[in-house]
Structure formats: C-alpha cells, structure tokens
Amino acid sequence: MGNEVLIKVENLSKSFGNNQVLNNVNLQIEKGEVIAIIGPSGCGKSTFIRTLNQLEEVTGGAIYLDGEDITKKGVDINNVRSRVGMVFQHFNLFPHLTIKKNLTLAPVKLGLMSQSEADQKAEELLKRVGLSEKADAYPDSLSGGQKQRIAIARSLAMNPEVMLFDEPTSALDPEMVGEVLSLMKELADDGMTMVVVTHEMGFAKEVADRVLFFDEKGIKEEGTPAEIFEFPQCQRLKDFLSKVL
C-alpha cells in the first residue's frame, strides 16, 4: 500500500439550515486505498461522500485533493469533478443518449478527447464491463445491474483519480447486486482509489482496506474490516452490526 495522501478532510462540517448533519470530520485517504462507509440511515454518510466532489457545499472545514483545497472559493470545481468519478444509487444515466454517447459526452464536451478517441475508450470500457453489444442501445432497455455497470463505465471514461460510490447497489434487485459488486472488486484490484457508501457488509469485509462507521454526525469508529466486524468497540456499532449481519 502506498502512503501518498490523495484526499485529506479537515474538520469538515455540514448543516442544512439549522440541521447539522456532519460535525468535525477528519480523514485521510491514500492513493489506491478502498474505503467502505457503513452506518445507519440518516447518519450523514451520503452527505459526506457528496461533499468530496462538492455536490454538497461544506459549511466548515476543508477538503484537499492532491494538496489543493477544493472547498475554497475560486477553485475550478468542474476541473475537480472531472478528476473525481461518482456513481449514484439511481444510476442517473442520460436516457436520451445511446450507451456509447453516455460514455463519450463528457470527455468530448470538456475537450479531453476527440470523438474518435472517446469512442475507442468507450468501446474498451464497454468490453471491460461486459456490455459491448449494448453500445448503440438506450438506457431504458437495460436491466438495473447493466445500468449501474454502464454508470461505472461512464465515470471511468473520464480517467478519474478516485471513484465515489453512493450506495451503488441499493436500488438493485438482489440477483443483480453481484454483477455490480464483482465489477467494483475488479476495479479495486486494479488499484483504483475508491470511497464506497454501502449496505453490503460482505463487500466491505472482503474488498475494503478500511471501514468507517458513521454515526452521530461523524466517524464513530474506524479500522480494518477485521477490527470493525470481529472486534467492534462502541455499543452503537455493535447494535448496528447485530441488525445488519
């Protein structure tokens, strides 16, 4: 495991009006690390991951990506986001575009690749996620699992430095969870830095390098999967695990 720090979160706070969701969160993520975030619903884990690419603006603290504070005013937020991939619970594919167009739109629009380069990259990625034959289909013709694999491919098309997954399997039928998780595992094995909010404890146990338990507006407990799942310390985590395992 390399120890070069990719993301550093300092004293992060977030409120919606008077409702504080996150309070004083601190975290360092190293390159190539896979972080799983677990916790009861409403604990702020989704909000937290959405602050990492500034879909949610923070109300206090700082987030550094490659040493640059991305919460500062005047930061080129579009540039930041192009380096941070995001996969949503509800896929959010673009229904009016073909699968291939879904993958190539952003790189071409942002001038990162020519259309033919992007097309080539898209074909490689579709092959990697096993959906080459769907290149010219529209999202509505895909199953949920296929949609999420395409959403992952769409993020990968931007060559991101880190991938954020916000409950990527929560909207899927149970029989489709596996195909998405195994794709994510492959990504992790290839050395992608990943932050995954998940309810799949098996995935957290097996794939994550580190597990964060979010509760009461912040990271309540963190450690290796073994530490978290075999020897939970705080009562809240024990309660939580007893419910989900």
Binding site: N53, L55, N78, N79, V80, R81, S82, R83, V84, G85, M86, F88, H90, N92, L93, F94, P95, H96, L105, A106, K109, L110, Y138, D140, S141, R154, S155, M158
Partner: protein, 499 residues
Amino acid sequence: MKKKLSLLLLALTTALMVGCGSKDTGKLVQTMDDLEGARIGVQLGTIGDIYASDYEGDEAGTVIERYNKIADAVQALKQGKIDAVIVDEQPAIASTENEATLTILDEPFALEEYAICIAKDNDELLTKVNEALAELKEDGTVDQIINNYIGDSTKGTCPYVSPEDVSYDNGTLVVATNVAFPPYEYYDKGEPVGIDMELITAIGDKLGMKVKVEDIEFDSIINAVDSHKADVGIAGMTMTEERLKSINFSDSYVTSKQVIIAADPKATGEGIGFIDNLKRNFIDDDRWTFLTKGLVNTLIIALCAVLAGMVIGFMVAIVRVTYDKTGGLSVLNAICKLYLTIIRGTPMMIQLLIIYYVVFKSVNVPKLLVAIIAFSINSGAYVAEIMRGGIMSIDNGQMEAGRSLGLTYKQTMISIILPQAIKNVLPSLGNEFISLIKETSICGYIGLMDLTRGGDIIRSITYEAFLPLIAVAIIYLFIVQLLTLGVGQLEKNLRKNEQ
C-alpha cells in the same frame, strides 16, 4: 378517423338546417312608433346606435342589440332574434336586396350628413381636405360619384377616373374605413370600392397624395385617426357632438337617411336556394379568395409566432429555472416574472390592440408584423411556463450526474436537461400551437385579414351569416386536426428512439 369526420359533417349539416330555419316570434314593426318595446338591432358605434340608444331602457322595455356588422344585424332580424334594424338607407337597400322576407319602412327614421374625420391636431390637412371637397362639389365630381352608386339609371355608368396628369408628390394618404357598408364602401373582386372610396381617391388626387386604404372595425376608426395610424377616416360617418370631442370633421359630402328594416308581413316564400347561396357566397367574384388569402395570413402569423414564441419562452424558462435552482440571475428573473404576470393576466385581444395602437402608435409597421410580434410575445409567456415545467420535471439526478462528470451548468443544461425536457413538453407545445392558431382570429380588430376576417368580408358583401362562418369553422377544424395528427406522429417517433 373517417367515422369521426362523417359524424362531424352530420352535426354541421344539422346545425346548418337549424340555423337557416327562421323563427317568428316578437313584435312586428310597421311604423316608427312600433319601435318602442321592440328589439332593435344596430351596428356598434354608428349613428343608428346613437339614435336607438335614446329608446334603450324606456318604459316599454325596448332592447338594443349592437352588432359589429350590418350583415349580422340583418341575419338576426331574418331569424327573428330582433324586430328591426336601424341603419343608413343605402346599406339597407343593399342588404335587403336578396331578402324577400325583409322590407324597408317608407318613413325615414332620421336624416344625417356624412363627413370625413381628421385628427384634432391636424388642421393643415383639414383645411386642404375641405378645399378639395369644395372644388369637387363645384365641378360636379361628388354628384358624379354618388350617381355611379345610387340611382337605377345612373348606377355603374360614371365611375371616377383619376386625371392623367396627377402626380403623387405629397406621399401617401392613409385612409381608415370599415369596408362593410355598401354602397359607401364594400369589396368588389377583392378591392375596396364605393362612394367613399372614389371620393377619397378624388380628394387624394387633388392633394397629390396616393390613397392607401386600411380596413378596420367601424368603432376603431376614430381611434386610428386620433392616434395617427391613419390620416383620415371615411366610412359614412356622421358628425355628432360626442365624436367631435375626440376628432374633427370636414364639411359634409353627402346627406343620408337612417331607415328601419323590419320583417315584411306580406312576404311569401323563402329566400334563394342553398346551392345558389353557396355560389353567391364563395364562387361569385371569386369570393373564396378572401378565405385563402386570410388563411395564408393566419398560417404565417401562427407559424412565425410559434417559432419566435419558442425562442422567447426558452430564454425566459432558462432564466427562471436557473434562478429557482441556483439563485442566480435574480434581476432577469424579476423581469421575466413581470412579463409572465402581465401577459398571462390580460386578454390576448387587449395586448394586440395595445401593441398596435399604443406601442407602435407613431411607427409605421406592417400589420402582419404587428400581429406576429403581439402573438410571439403572448405565446412566449405560455411556452416559458411549459418549458419551465418540462425542465423541472427532469430528475435532479440528471443535473448531478452531468455536474459530477465535470460538465458546467450550461453544458449540462444544453446537452442533458433540455433535450429531455423538450421531448416531455412536445405535446403541450403542440397544444399551444393549436390554440395560437385559433387565437389569431382576433386579428380583424387591427384590420388584418386573417381567415376569420376573410369570412367576415364575405358576410359583409353577401349579408349571409351562416355559410361563411361554417366554412371558416371547417377550415380551422381541418388545420387543427392536421396538426394534432402531426404532433401525435412526432411524439411516437421520439418515443421509438429510446427503445
């Protein structure tokens, strides 16, 4: 579809039968005294209207019905909806020519003098017109013109011809009139003709000015002259004290009688047959061309307005959505909100009149353009709300997905949100276009010949209310059906795209 159409035709035919049948209730008017307690029809804003108003609300319960056209009043009389019509003598003769069941009472209702109206602040023109009029009376031209239209032996024998050496160095004389008042002004082969038309041409020749006729509603003529939309108004108009408050009048050029049209108690038999009636309304003098010309204008206005309205609506919707979603553009948003409030809160007709008479008061803009502008602005407001609804209906996740890939707000809007929003609102946009087409039927109020007014003109010539109206209705229906089909097909194609 075919079944629907034939059902429709059946309904129309039934309506036609009912409309043609006449009812025979109410009061029989045979002398002036009978007017008390009768239902009297007049043309809105005419002298007949003013005189008849004296009877209104009297103890005998006299009712005054005001119509936009003499033809409508005559039609109502024929159907027994009213008991008498008070109108100028010559139009009365012309409009009862083909009506065996109607008669003009021998006893005249009132005598009156016609004059030309000119804006209060235009004394220079008033003087010139009076001088020209005096000269024309002197050399017999006025009598010649009147004889060309009135009098069985002289009718059509002595039309006014412009002198060959006349030059129009002094520009254009814009003349407001209501071409629905034979024999003073009416359409013949698509051209406005009549006593007033020849007289004003003769005056124009004297003044060295080319006459340009604007055909508008009678009750808008004084407005048009007062606001300098037209230089003079001539429409068998009598000088009254009320009118003198807002406008000046030239010397009188003809004396006319107000007469009473009533049902003829001795009448036997019906009017002319259905086929002859069809022929008279559409075939004679190529009258159907009023409908085709009107239709072209209606389509031009609707098409241009829907396109321009789309552009306006689009921009307004973007501003409103951007404000709603990000809080930016607050000043523009306030302006857009004001625009939407005003346009959606006032009737289209009022907007059209305001744009024509107030906004473009002193600028000479073609009426077609005025109509296009007015309808674009109106349509823009409705399209804006449709588009805004369309954009708001797109799941927030689409914006987030676009932004998370590094696209800017604008890029996401253009490449991701708008294409989906437009597809969603296409049926609503189609409906907007359909209602816009029908709304253009108010263009007659600024004297623009759209489809509805084309039918009106035929009605003013033939004094037949029913056939032209039905023809116009069928044409509108046909266009709307065609569009409905088109929109449906478009929707189907778009949906197919995504599967």
